[in-house]
Symmetry: C2
Subunit: 341 residues, 2 copies
């Protein structure tokens, strides 16, 4: 297996991407191909571990590129014109089978455009979507679409439900994942036009498509561990995702301040630190890795823009699993079946 890593994408690249790759390489079986400026990468590797790249691992290599897509670039223009950028080269390698999964923390718009234009949609899926993975009680919650499509139609949400089902079954072995519709009430008449229409469509089509649709789900019940995925449009999903992130940050800073308020609590807190760290870890949605771009023909992982080396390390391991579980191949297969019927 070959993991294609956009070495130049993200706020902390290329430092964090390279360090993440070096940390991950001995924990995985796959090769990692660092895509980016070869001179810069070689220099960084030398700086980080005082070794040549080849000495670190024979499963690490470089694909040299000369351009980088910047955060302020217009997605479509960047994908069309920056042909030798790490992102465009990564997608082309993925398409041509020179790699099995592409990871990038670069310009989100360009990543989604590139995946759709250069790798291509799965037949039967109108809108590929981002599946973010959030913490839940002794479990995880898939949030799809967590930000790719600002405007959606009911048919898109139905397809998100299908994709989540296939992904969760193949990756986590959940036979009948519970899929909810993110809404502001549990009654079927609640919500805006999109949720009302989507509710009807999901109710009508779920049995036929093998979706275990559990109805409307409110955010306050979403993290109970009983719901495996919630489907929504990309605007609402992104609002939800970032509310969770914001509260995560508040918990982190509040915990720190509450514990360190005075020297007595400070000392008293020491034996509890593992528990606090456990909580922080389970609260930090970043430790649940990158978001999967579901609906395109090959595995694409959108790493968090502000990923540090630890998160890149985690995302690389997550990407290896994503390929191993063949969720994308299964998705292509199942949508083909649906289309034939």
């Amino acid at each position: 297996m070959k993991i294609l890593l956009d070495a130049m994408g993200g706020d902390n690249a290329p430092d964090a991407t390279i360090k993440g790759a070096i940390n991950a390489i001995n924990q995985i079986e796959a090769e990692i191909i660092l895509i980016g400026n070869e001179d810069i990468i070689r220099k960084k590797v030398k700086e980080i571990c005082n070794k040549e790249l080849e000495e670190v691992s024979d499963r690490l290599s470089i694909k040299n590129t000369t351009e980088t897509i910047e955060m302020e670039d217009t997605p479509t223009l960047a994908i069309k014109h920056k042909k030798d950028s790490s992102m465009v080269v990564g997608f082309k390698m993925l398409k041509q089978g020179e790699g099995d999964v592409f990871i990038s923390a670069g310009n989100s718009g360009a990543l989604l455009t590139g995946a759709t234009l250069l790798v291509g949609r799965i037949k039967g899926i109108d809108r590929p979507a981002l599946a973010g993975i959030l913490p839940a009680h002794n479990s995880r919650l898939l949030l799809i679409d967590s930000g790719a499509n600002t405007n959606c139609k009911p048919i898109n949400l139905l397809q998100f439900a299908q994709m989540s089902t296939i992904y969760l079954r193949n990756t986590f072995g959940i036979e009948k994942p519970a899929i909810g519709l993110l809404n502001i009430g549990t009654e079927e008449t609640k919500g805006n036009e999109l949720t009302k229409e989507s509710y009807k469509l999901l109710k009508e089509k779920s049995e036929e498509l093998g979706i275990n649709f559990v109805g409307n789900v409110e955010g306050r019940d979403a993290f109970s561990g009983k719901i495996d995925a919630i489907v929504t449009d990309g605007f609402t999903g992104n609002i939800f995702l970032k509310a969770v992130e914001g509260i995560g940050r508040l918990v982190k800073v509040s915990l720190k301040e509450n514990f360190l308020k005075n020297i007595f609590t400070k000392i008293a807190a020491i034996p509890s630190l593992p528990a606090i760290e456990g909580l922080q870890k389970s609260m930090d949605y970043k430790s649940y890795g990158g978001a999967l771009f579901l609906g395109v023909k090959k595995p694409v992982v959108k790493a968090h823009g502000s990923s540090d080396e630890t998160l890149f390390e985690f995302t690389i391991k997550q990407a290896e699993n994503f390929v191993k579980n063949k969720a994308v191949d299964k998705m292509i297969e199942e949508f083909e079946k649906v289309n034939k019927n």
Copy 2:
């Protein structure tokens, strides 16, 4: 000052409302009028403290009503037909000056309909809205609209920004409250049609209306304590509110489990309990009280449907402050000025 309390509204009424009122009465200066079935209320008071109502405090009294609006009632029908319900009677008393603020944890739809129909909108405000109060770093965050209006226009969001400014100035003494537009990115081109158009309108009108508009705000930055209020439509606001509530629940259960995982941590945790409680309290948005229904001519407070006695106690104290600070009168005044110009 007279506080009108719907004794029959909410999941835990009338127990929690009556207990809350009894607990609050000695902490406030105002009178409390319990609106509901007199026989039931008298019986409950006797049960709770083995005293007659009059013996508990001479600032506690009852307004007898014979009907109750149920959670499953259709809002408009309930307000029109249940004329002797605790909610309708409460609103009429509020309108006629027989009380200064009305608190209810009953049917939300009926409460919003009743407030608009029976108390009336402030001139110049097209859509009254719910202002929820969330925790933020060493501060609080006003979220408006947190659920009253599923569909909104840019003009509504502009008015929400005006109302928040007036409320925050008069209640918390913040001279120029920082008002953000809840969005999925900080750039002005980000978001859906509503946020794009609202951004333009807010930018254009803020100076003239005395709003300190700080631009688009993402959820991940909303709790920093630097933002005083975020404006949004009621659908998005309610999604945001309930995401916060859900994560709050997850924190609570995770903390408990992480601490009680083994007996060693359990003992070690004891001295840290105040800090943990501090965190829990600052994370629990319920401890920030009820949501204010801004835009109607009198103070109306929507208590959380699942309020317990502690939360009712808190909400009663909050309602007293809401009246003391005259935020509603100031709102009427300022909107009159704007309308004249």
